[in-house]
């Protein structure tokens, strides 16, 4: 009974993917080449750029930018959030500003960054950083706010010193929230990466999309977009996995 359910599920999914592929191919052949390209042409283009090494080079360039920005964002956001977890008056003071920056569409700052810092690697890292840092900070502070005062009191009653309090209460309690922030940062950072590659000095996968659209090489553009979709899905799964791994620590079923 169960296996038949599974079988029909797989069949439905396979059918939907097959229909999608056929629709892409047929619409690509019918539409003008300037607007849309068939799946076969897109995959052939992907194979070509993969074989002559362009794809690998551009992916590495994007990856370098993305990982640098994301890691700096985590390295700044998480410790800062933890400090705010412990220093209640500072948290009270900064809370509305962190929320405001979390809600700010960071992309609006890109023209300022361009005109002040110009082209180069550093401004692009700054863009990824700005996209990614506030989710980490905001969620860590959010977690910090919910540390139960009783926990700190019990730790104090057992004569925990400051370091033990951090190691046994503050960090374990806040980490799952930080992970939620990191999951959001993973997704937002990817947007930041593409924005930086489009609007600052062109590089990586963003440059491949831009070149495809400027040269009316629709298949080339679609193959780069397909690549970004695959990367986006992979990163989202990674983020969910990270979040779920630490979710059990919250001691509640969320």
């Amino acid at each position: 009974m169960k296996s038949r359910e599974n079988l029909s599920e797989y069949l439905a999914i396979a059918a939907s993917l097959a229909i999608g592929a056929v629709a892409w191919e047929v619409s690509g052949r019918m539409a003008s080449g300037a607007f849309w390209a068939p799946l076969s042409a897109t995959l052939k283009n992907l194979w070509d750029v993969a074989r002559d090494g362009v794809l690998l080079r551009q992916c590495l360039s994007s990856f370098q930018l993305y990982v640098t920005g994301l890691l700096i964002a985590i390295a700044v956001g998480a410790p800062l959030g933890l400090v705010l977890a412990r220093v209640a008056w500072l948290r009270t003071a900064l809370d509305p500003y962190i929320m405001m920056l979390y809600a700010t569409p960071m992309v609006a700052l890109v023209p300022f960054i361009l005109s002040i810092m110009g082209f180069g690697f550093a401004p692009k890292v700054l863009v990824v950083f700005l996209f990614a840092v506030f989710p980490v900070l905001y969620n860590t502070v959010e977690g910090a706010r919910s540390v139960k005062p009783e926990l700190v009191e019990v730790a104090r009653a057992f004569r925990s010193n400051e370091w033990q309090l951090w190691r046994d209460v503050m960090i374990p309690y806040t980490l799952p929230f930080t992970m939620t922030g990191i999951r959001q940062a993973i997704a937002r950072g990817l947007v930041g990466m593409v924005v930086a590659e489009f609007f600052l000095s062109p590089s990586g996968l963003g440059q491949m999309i831009m070149m495809g659209s400027q040269n009316f090489d629709t298949a080339g553009m679609l193959s780069a977009i397909l690549m970004i979709i695959v990367v986006g899905v992979g990163l989202m799964d990674l983020g969910r996995h990270l979040e779920n791994r630490f979710a059990a620590w919250r001691g509640e079923s969320r």
Binding site: S16, M99, A108, P111, F112, S115, P149, M221, M236
Partner: protein, 271 residues
Amino acid sequence: MSSAGAVLAGAGRGTSDDVGPWYAAPIVLKFAAGLVLLSLWEAGVRSLAPAYVARPSGIATVFFRVLSDSQFLAAARATLGAVVGGLLLSIVFGTVVGLAMGRIANVERGLRYYINSLFATPMVAILPLLSLWFGYSGDTRLATVVFAAFFSVAVNTCDGARAVPVEYLEVARSFRARGLRTLFDVVLPSSLPYLLAGVRLAAGRSLVAAVVAEFFVSIPGLGYYILFNSRTFKHNEAFVAVVILVAVGVGFDAFVNWVTRRYLPWARRSG
């Protein structure tokens, strides 16, 4: 607003028995922190950056002049109109698709990979394609907003429709409610909190989408206003547009929070 309330409650719980001095009151702390941040910004720009870089005093002097500028108002109307229009379209279609996916297994199986992978895609990547299809016009901006907002509404509504407690559906069935009645009276209200969480996410994404689309296709709007003025080194004027965007983002968030608390008391889901 809700977070400020939570902080007040939290601070009250921590320090209720020892009422601190007046300068430890949350409102004073918040205000002081704002002053400190602004003066740090002002001092940093004055000592380190070129004169054209935006700083609080410069923004304050041009603020009301920019706000009464008809060109700026037209830009704000265009951007916010596209955001609101795109959001409404996304909410309507996203709810329909999300409910169908949540309640009908084969629809979910058929659309799962498309919806989830496009949800994970940074919409900026698709912008060049949209500009090919819709031309260098406002349509591209609207399409980008819809693309950015639709999938988060659909994904969240689908989660909500699947999380409807079985008991509710059983009660509805034992009262012989028809399919459509069950949908509107049980499934939809029960998944509304999820839907609203999706709308909050969608609102943030659609602001980003509208601004990016304006950068890309150079159509009048707040994003283009920022781009144009920062290129001509009028950073203070450009920053006024950023302030408006932030205000809209924060304001909408607060509005959805308020709606959730006021009209959906059964929503226990905060995020």
